[in-house]
């Protein structure tokens, strides 16, 4: 068993991610089986819904300890990235604890509605393989009501009322707050970069 695997986290909307990989010539499998996940060359952790529900589903499938021990490239997308942190303020949920820190709620204002929904740029891009070929002119599609802190793991950040991590990486664990599968050419580039990690 090898190839790219998308973890079936139970939420809807795995199709768009699968199609995005398909457009890059990769037929990704969708699975929630620990053995298949461990054996995959690359693992994508998607996530739509709430942190509490997603963690509950991972625990029910016995996947939390499995995910923590993965050594191949792992990409958390949106909520999937937030789950990599210690905690989320969303439902005061204990998450996977792979990255340090707490995911907090974005504060709405009259000029800044929450969820943050729309196209935004990245700042502070680092020289990371995930960001190869991208610059501050590239726009990405964000949909989120919670945001991850900045830290040593931050590879790029975004500003929406406050600064938060948009791209994170610590060893083999990567995460993006935006939806690369819905971010046109710039999103495809990030996915392509991830597929190039070994």
């Amino acid at each position: 068993m090898s190839g790219t695997l998308i973890i079936d986290s139970g939420g809807a909307n795995l199709a768009s991610l699968q199609y995005a990989l398909e457009r890059l010539g990769v037929a990704a499998r969708v699975s929630a089986e620990a053995r298949a996940i461990v054996a995959a060359d690359r693992v994508v952790l998607p996530g739509v819904g709430s942190a509490a529900d997603a963690m509950q589903r991972l625990h029910a499938a016995g996947l939390a300890p499995v995910l923590r021990q993965l050594t191949q490239p792992v990409l958390g997308i949106c909520l999937g990235m937030q789950l990599l942190f210690e905690r989320s303020a969303e439902g005061d949920t204990e998450c996977l604890g792979i990255l340090p820190g707490t995911v907090r709620r974005l504060e709405p204002s009259t000029t800044r509605p929450v969820p943050h929904m729309g196209w935004n740029r990245l700042q502070g891009l680092t020289d990371d393989a995930l960001l190869k070929g991208l610059d501050t002119e590239a726009y990405f599609y964000f949909v989120h009501g919670y945001a991850a802190p900045l830290g040593a793991f931050t590879r790029a950040q975004t500003h929406y009322g406050e600064d938060f991590s948009a791209v994170v990486r610590q060893g083999n664990f990567c995460g993006v707050q935006f939806h690369p599968e819905r971010s046109a050419a710039s999103g495809a580039r990030v996915l392509e970069n991830f597929l190039g990690l070994t």
Binding site: P113, P115, W119
Partner: protein, 235 residues
């Protein structure tokens, strides 16, 4: 009636790819006859669109249950938009938001001025069945947010299809009570109408159909003009 005489504007796959290439930020597919006819959207096209489209898209029309929404989202749509069914069964908003998260639950509101003020209308896809819901628009905007709507599309029916500009005054009133993303709809006829909606009504997005379908406004030129006017948009 401005909502009559809907036209077939072309194959949706071709249009979807064309708008994507021209720089559209999001596409909304309205099956406007679904609710009046009491049927759901045919889902096979949603999947075909999702396979080729790499920007977000929303499906509206005939979503009356969590199962309807789930099928559309599983087929690859980013968001679902409900309008008439939300007015008939407001609890549907709560149920969808709980199940899928507020970020993919859009509530569309067809608003028209009546003697009693602006009211939300139902079944506007069928002139024979269009009816006033009895709900005040601002009250409805507040309620749908409490129930978990993650985005509101305000379609000002008086302006729709006539290309005289968005109803800025009404959008401003709705903006004042809207804490989630607000999308202006109905009335776009010129580039200045878009800039006015962003600048004067503070909307998060502007939606248009006929001016793009008819080639009156090119998306690239529109975005360039908005940028020149100091409104940040994705190129």
């Amino acid at each position: 009636m401005r909502f009559r005489d809907h036209r077939v504007v072309g194959d949706i796959m071709t249009l979807a790819q064309r708008y994507r290439d021209e720089g559209a930020d999001e596409l909304v597919f309205y099956d406007i006859t679904a609710s009046p006819q009491g049927r759901s959207v045919d889902r096979s096209w949603v999947q075909r669109i999702a396979r080729v489209l790499d920007i977000p898209f929303c499906v509206a029309g005939g979503i009356r249950s969590v199962a309807d929404a789930e099928a559309v989202l599983n087929a690859g749509a980013e968001k679902i938009s409900i309008n008439s069914p939300a007015l008939s069964d407001p609890d549907l908003i709560d149920a969808l938001s709980r199940r899928f998260g507020a970020q993919c639950v859009v509530v569309g509101i067809d608003s028209e001025r009546t003697a009693a003020g602006h009211r939300a209308f139902q079944f506007t896809g069928d002139p024979g069945r269009t009816r006033e819901s009895g709900r005040d628009v601002l009250e409805w905007v507040r309620e749908v947010q409490e129930r978990g709507a993650g985005e509101i599309v305000l379609n000002c029916m008086g302006s729709d299809g006539v290309r005289q500009g968005y109803d800025i005054e009404q959008l401003q009133a709705v903006r004042a009570v809207c804490r989630v993303p607000l999308v202006a709809s109905g009335g776009a006829g010129a580039i200045e109408h878009f800039s006015a909606a962003f600048r004067d009504a503070g909307v998060d997005a502007a939606l248009a159909a006929s001016v793009f379908h008819d080639g009156v406004i090119a998306i690239g030129a529109l975005k360039q003009a908005l940028r020149s006017a100091g409104i940040e948009v994705r190129p």
